[in-house]
Symmetry: C2
Subunit: 429 residues, 2 copies
């Protein structure tokens, strides 16, 4: 997100300072509210390029995620701090050092979302062309293994710091890793001691069969783009099977289902908030909705419901899991603008309404075995994060579904992820 | 430095918490004291490898310099924040983005020390072998130019942020840089607006003729390793000539002479402090001093002055500019241990004594035209930085040689460096 919030339209909303774009104070405040809401971690994506139509759209990812999380680390105490670090154009040693430094600075709250880069807009900013898909994933696997080995290169109890004898460390326990893959290599050791959680936690938010393999081997947290409980359950099962195939206990890997809440006293107010936040995006969304429903729609009739003829002719696309929901909403008689405002073509289920609607969604999915937790894209702008912390969280707490304080100090412990130090021995040899 | 301080022996000193190694609170405190002393900038070197004999030596550079400076940026207001970012194994886009992010977070206080990597211990941590010297400098030149162009890729007045019309930016003023060298390339633009100082300030602390050429073309601040006023004057002149050769005003480039103060009420107390801080290093230093003086010295006689026979036989090495000073100190009758404690084989002049001795040194050099300012390696541990701020600075202020408050808000203005945005037009075409 930018300091305006998580939505393209946030910078134009009433009460928003238009010069706040890169205001780190504001990002810290959002993080502190999330911590007040006892969320287990924050996640910052990365997109090292400018892709927005900047005449009308604000730039979402201006600052470097690791530097941003460092600032947040210093002004929060418990919340986990996860960032994407793409492996395609980065050196394993640099990734290992920066994430481990964040882990030390945050006292054991860092997580690394290990993904390849795929976007040609990003690739053009770097010195070499985008490698073929196969090679990108080879490099990703090599990088994760080298990074983990570097994290463990300074032995857990190597740091002696005995002032009386003058022995600083047990040199026998600080060893090079000497790993060389086809694409990347590092000797090590890293000059950084263990953090409170040993080493950062690995996340994976890529998707696809190659991403599933990465998740199954290395990750303790995985974000899924899922539209229905059935889809989510299936993805969670597939993830757990991938973990088991790699010799791991499936419970080591938590599956987080995406959800996009917009919280307001009524559904109408929540839809209006979403409309304001996405203003200017309706034209392209109407075009997209046409394809999903297999009918023509008229951008000139945004305020009217779909006609009986349109509804009768609609054929939800079998290629898009969101199509059925889009038709269901349209049949409820909402205007074309409101249908879109329901988020029928967003990447995750949108819950627009009072806090209890969000809590109900989360409870239903959780109890159906669709998720271990949620990857929550709150429509942060001004009070968006506060609404989640102050309205949704207390409901979940009253229902016995959410903790009432942080029981642990590190991200690893927040997730119930097993201790790890260095490369997972199950991956070696 | 580490949180113990700047000296290998600091971690064993009385009152030092042996577990403080990576304590970022302590690093922030050192920075705050430096800011209280109105220093113009902090400088963090980088050494992405473990080179210490860690059985007995603490690790000096554990954490990443950019993340460390981000933490410091949030808890200081005026002091400049300069870090080394080596170009040999890094992508220009990544360097540009991270330093610019620090510049935004610090509100215009970032500086980049642009150097190549040369150490094989460092190179072994990366995926490719150390390139030949020529190629390293080619890559450095290409990288600096691409980084500067990226810094200017978001035009100074491109960011419109007009909430009423919905115009976020003037897209015509946000342009790709499309630079491709022999070794590195980037398309851009960077997704980051101008900072308060436009873009970070370039430093150079390399040395040699190739380093001088880099400094003359790009730098606004240069650190020199100089042992005498004559040497310093000559280096400063050479630097100014290099700037002029590149079409720049020589006053755009400030020359900082290195100095290493250890402040204590008496010279004796200062020497004792230095002895304690470098304990365990005497054996190798005696061996080194032997070579400088061309005589045999006995590590078993550390407490005794050199004998008249030794002093008579001594022949200062013509290859080491420090040799004459070493012999001068030895002739004053100090013990072998004290001769070394005077810093005769350190990289910069050591001033061990009361604050006034440090102030005298700085005044003498400054008034002799040997330096525009000083690159001060304070022996920080506990009160080392405080002693400089509280004892040396007031003397310099009383003598009218140092400011009594920050007159400006950005590093560029602190240095009196000219405005720059994007690649210097004198370098283009």
């Amino acid at each position: 997100m930018s300091a305006y919030g998580t939505q393209q339209g946030a910078w134009r909303m009433p009460g928003v300072d238009p010069t706040a774009w890169t205001d780190i104070d504001q990002l810290v405040r959002f993080a502190q509210v999330a911590e007040r809401g006892l969320l287990h971690f924050l996640f910052l994506p990365d997109f090292p390029a400018l892709r927005e139509d900047i005449e009308r759209e604000s730039v979402m990812m201006a600052l470097d995620p690791l530097l941003t999380l460092t600032a947040i680390a210093r002004e929060t105490k418990r919340i986990g701090l996860v960032a994407t670090g793409a492996t395609t154009f980065a050196e394993p040693f640099t990734i290992a050092r920066q994430f481990k430094a964040l882990d030390i600075i945050s006292h054991g709250r860092a997580g690394w979302n290990a993904v390849p880069m795929s976007d040609p807009t990003v690739a053009a900013n770097f010195s070499h062309p985008l490698p073929p898909r196969q090679e990108k994933y080879e490099r990703l696997h090599e990088t994760v293994q080298i990074v983990q080995a570097l994290w463990g290169s300074w032995g857990r109890d190597a740091w002696v710091h005995d002032q009386a004898s003058g022995r600083f460390a047990d040199a026998a326990k600080v060893q090079p890793v000497n790993l060389r893959g086809r694409h990347v290599a590092s000797r090590g050791p890293l000059p950084i001691p263990p953090s409170e959680q040993g080493q950062p936690v690995i996340f994976q938010a890529g998707g696809g069969s190659a991403g599933l393999e990465v998740a199954g081997r290395y990750a303790n947290g995985v974000a899924g783009a899922v539209w229905t409980i059935d889809d989510a359950r299936a993805q969670r099962v597939a993830l757990r099977e991938a973990a088991a195939r790699n010799g791991r206990d499936p419970d080591e890997v938590k599956f987080f289902a995406g959800v996009m809440p917009t919280i307001a006293p009524t559904r109408r107010a929540a839809l209006d908030r979403r409309i304001a936040l996405t203003e200017g995006k309706f034209e392209e969304r109407v075009a997209y909705l046409q394809q999903m429903l297999g009918i023509r729609l008229d951008i000139g009739h945004l305020e009217q419901p779909l006609s009986p003829q349109q509804l009768a002719a609609a054929r939800p696309s079998p290629h898009d899991p969101r199509s059925k929901n889009a038709l269901k909403i349209a049949r409820e008689g909402w205007s074309l603008r409101d249908v879109i405002a329901h988020g029928v073509i967003d990447y995750h289920p949108v819950i627009a309404g009072p806090g209890v609607a969000v809590a109900d969604h989360m409870q239903e999915w959780f109890e159906a075995g669709a998720a271990d937790g949620f990857w929550i894209m709150i429509d942060v702008y001004q009070d968006g994060m506060d609404a989640f912390a102050d309205e949704v969280v207390p409901i979940l707490q009253r229902r016995g579904l959410f903790h009432t304080e942080y029981e642990s100090a590190t991200l690893r412990d927040h997730l119930g992820a097993p201790a790890q130090y260095g490369l997972d021995p199950r991956l070696v040899g």
